[in-house]
């Protein structure tokens, strides 16, 4: 199961953000994510169009981006006001899950990635491992948090809160095969209607993270929305790293030994 977020119909109402926070009891966040302030008197504008959330984080599991992009053809048409609801991608090969030393991050029966808050000890390894910069540690709590894809709801056959709240069905929840088909149809539709820049992001199971469990239809390049253009799961290179580390360890032992051997000779 997963999300397909069709940003071409997103109206930037931020209902997903609020629904997510209400259902999951995520605290409201003052200032940019990670600033560590929880005093709501310090709330402030970010000066980024209508986006005052900034990015995904421990206290923001859905984030609506507002991009004021120039028209496709300069001088022709209005500013393109792009909105997109970002979320944890629930990667098929999830770096956060791979590197978690405690097994707090697990893959659920819905093929989603879930942090068990009763196991997480806040080591923070998942934070730099995520190629999308999604998961973060809540400073006042110490543990890592991210979108659960409403595990508690999906277990009981309910739609995740954000998809339920989305008024335009920009956020769609369902089996990934079905969503991918739907996304392909939608992309064709948009291309036929002359939206040449429409593209699917994270749909391809052959990409660096094995395809996203939450993928997107974007109306511009991924960077414009703050998404990495070509994310790669860091553990893809892990076997090579282990080999080199083992060789280095052996080299250390040998070097120390050699230092002694020569010493005895003198």
């Amino acid at each position: 199961m997963g999300f397909f977020t069709d940003t071409s119909v997103c109206i930037g109402c931020k209902a997903c953000e609020v629904a997510c926070k209400v259902w999951n009891q995520v605290p409201a966040d003052a200032g940019p994510t990670g600033s560590g302030t929880s005093d709501l008197a310090e709330l402030d504008l970010l000066g980024m169009s209508y986006d005052n959330t900034g990015d995904l984080g421990a206290n923001t599991w859905r984030h609506v981006a507002f991009v004021e992009a120039p028209p496709r053809t300069p001088g022709a048409g209005d500013v393109r006001w792009l909105m997109s609801s970002d979320v944890c991608k629930h990667c098929t090969h999830a770096a956060c899950l791979d590197v978690c030393p405690t097994g707090a991050l697990i893959r659920t029966e819905f093929e989603t990635v879930y942090v068990q808050p009763d196991v997480c000890n806040g080591c923070g390894y998942c934070v730099p491992a995520c190629p999308y910069g999604v998961i973060d540690v809540r400073p006042d709590d110490g543990r890592a948090f991210k979108c659960t894809l409403c595990y508690d709801r999906t277990k009981h056959g309910l739609t995740p809160a954000c998809a339920q709240a989305c008024p335009t069905e920009s956020i769609q929840y369902g089996p990934l095969d079905e969503l991918r088909e739907r996304a392909d149809r939608r992309l064709e539709q948009l291309k036929a209607a002359g939206v040449a820049e429409a593209q699917l992001y994270g749909r391809d199971p052959g990409d660096g993270v094995g395809g996203d469990g939450a993928f997107f239809l974007l109306l511009d390049e991924p960077e414009v929305y703050g998404l990495p253009p070509d994310p790669v799961v860091t553990t893809r290179d892990l076997p090579g790293m282990w080999k080199r580390a083992a060789a280095a360890a052996a080299g250390l032992a040998v070097a120390v030994a050699v230092a002694f051997v020569e010493g005895r000779r003198r």
Binding site: C120, G124, R143, L190, P229, L238, R244, G263
Partner: protein, 483 residues
């Protein structure tokens, strides 16, 4: 990349990147749109690992790992002073490292969760399984050394620690390079060598500091060689990163990481040379050892800070233009994220929406009512010129023309007419929905009727309307209409 002084080398790095520009508009007459990111925000999260906990752990673990090997070999070759010092350093490093790691946790009370699973995909899990037995064995060896109790067991514990020592010194390279942070991940081939040589230098430095002159032959050689390899590995690392797009190498050269790096170079060079030259002098050896150890610590801080800086600048800057000076125009909501290095987006003349031809975007055009020389309601003469209209966002975008559709009229009424008059007007029209509320069908008010009709299945007329609307939209979708 986004900060710091521009280097001449920048351009050579940037040029090939531009070619990867926007495929879509390549070859067209359109000036290439350059952008950096979403409002310049980094994509990656800043690592939450604490400073100095983690760099200190990297340093202490490496020093301890080397020291336990030194201790065993010193024991075998009959160097009791070196063995004693190395055993103590091994235990001290293990304890300091463990404490630093536990302190770094968000929930230190749950540190035992680290041993909950064995996960080869998680370097931290593997590292925990290395550190835990290592710390126990190294502490046992040191305890035996200090107290003199059970020297045989102490020796065996020392051998055990020596077995775990080299992995302890090298796994930390995997720990940092198994992340998405470019400065760490892209250095994955060089970091093990750098970390291990840094560990060897620190261990040898500690040995020089603690062991007496006649016994220090091995640590002198180890320190000098390790210092040389550490410097070479650092150079190789920078050379590799230098070839990468996105200015990854700047993370090691600028800011705090750059300062630590330079300090590490100086200290390691001094320590390595000092160890060779002053090996006969106790004080000279101690100073050289101190420099080597400090150099190792500086290296760890440099790598740690480079990762932090790299995470902060990783903002898909790979497409920044080489000549990209920010547009001299006023900053706009998108200016932080968007740069256009070619001609201004709009030609100056048709800067504003004009009225004379049918405007392409009627929502932005306000047509003055009738002759527009006097206010239609008050009859006051209108003043033209640069006066400012304030209106509620999303409201009052009316089109007042000779023939308006019913819908337009209704909309205009509801929102109030936008008039360039003094800001006094009273709207005598009723609200949009009121006529609906009053409509009667067969002597029965329509709204009540809707409620009666829909009772049972759907709770409210609003919901009923919503369902009808979504059905209509489905029809549109099936027909293949654009949204």
């Amino acid at each position: 990349m986004t900060s710091g002084t521009p280097e001449p080398a920048d351009k050579s790095r940037v040029e090939p990147r531009r070619k990867r520009g926007r495929k879509r508009i390549k070859g067209s007459m359109v000036p290439e749109a350059e952008f950096t990111s979403y409002y310049g925000r980094p994509i990656l999260k800043r690592p939450t690992w604490k400073n100095p906990d983690i760099p200190v752990y990297l340093w202490a673990g490496g020093m301890a790992g080397t020291s336990s090997v030194l201790a065993v070999l010193a024991d075998t070759t009959g160097r009791p002073a070196l063995r004693r010092g190395a055993r103590l350093v091994a235990a001290g490093g293990a304890i300091v490292g463990t404490v630093a790691l536990i302190h770094d946790l968000g929930r230190p009370s749950r540190f035992l969760n680290m041993l909950r699973v064995v996960k080869p995909t998680s370097p931290l899990s593997v590292g925990s399984w290395i550190l835990a037995p290592y710390a126990g064995l190294a502490s046992a060896a040191a305890a035996s050394e200090i107290t003199g109790i059970a020297p045989r067991l102490g020796k065996q514990a020392g051998w055990g620690a020596a077995l775990f020592g080299p992995p302890l010194a090298s796994y930390t390279a995997v720990l940092v390079s198994d992340t998405a942070i470019p400065a760490w991940h892209e250095a994955r081939d060089e970091l093990p060598v750098l970390f291990v040589s840094s560990a060897a230098a620190a261990g040898a430095g500690a040995g020089l500091l603690l062991a007496a002159t006649p016994e220090n032959g091995p640590v002198v050689r180890l320190g000098a060689v390790a210092a040389g390899i550490e410097l070479a590995a650092g150079k190789a690392l920078e050379k590799r990163l230098d070839g990468l797009p996105g200015g990854v190498v700047d993370a090691y050269r600028t800011g705090k990481a750059g300062r630590w790096n330079r300090a590490a170079h100086v200290l390691t060079t001094l320590g390595g040379l000092g160890a060779l030259l002053a090996r006969r002098s106790r004080a000279g050896s101690a100073l050289a050892g101190l420099a080597l150890t400090a150099g190792s610590l500086a290296t760890r801080f440099a790598v740690f800070e480079a990762g932090i800086q790299s995470a902060a600048t990783r903002s898909t800057s790979s497409r920044r233009s080489a000549s990209g000076s920010p547009a001299a125009s006023a900053p706009t909501a998108r200016a932080a994220g968007w740069r256009r290095n070619a001609a201004p987006r709009r030609s100056p003349a048709p800067d504003t929406c004009s009225i004379a031809p049918p405007a392409p975007h009627p929502t932005n055009v306000i047509r003055p009512a009738r002759s527009a020389t006097s206010c239609p309601r008050t009859g006051l003469p209108l003043q033209h010129g640069p006066h400012h209209l304030a209106h509620r966002t999303g409201g009052a975008r009316s089109t007042t023309s000779a023939k308006r559709s019913w819908f337009d009229q209704r909309r205009t009424r509801a929102l109030g007419e936008l008039e360039p008059c003094p800001d006094v007007h009273v709207d005598h029209y009723s609200d949009d929905l009121e006529p609906f509320l009053l409509v009667e069908v067969g002597g029965h008010p329509l709204v009540d009727l809707l409620e009666i009709l829909t009772r049972g299945s759907v709770s409210s007329p609003g919901e009923r309307l919503g369902i009808a609307q979504s059905r209509l939209l489905r029809v549109a979708e099936q027909a293949g209409l654009p949204p």
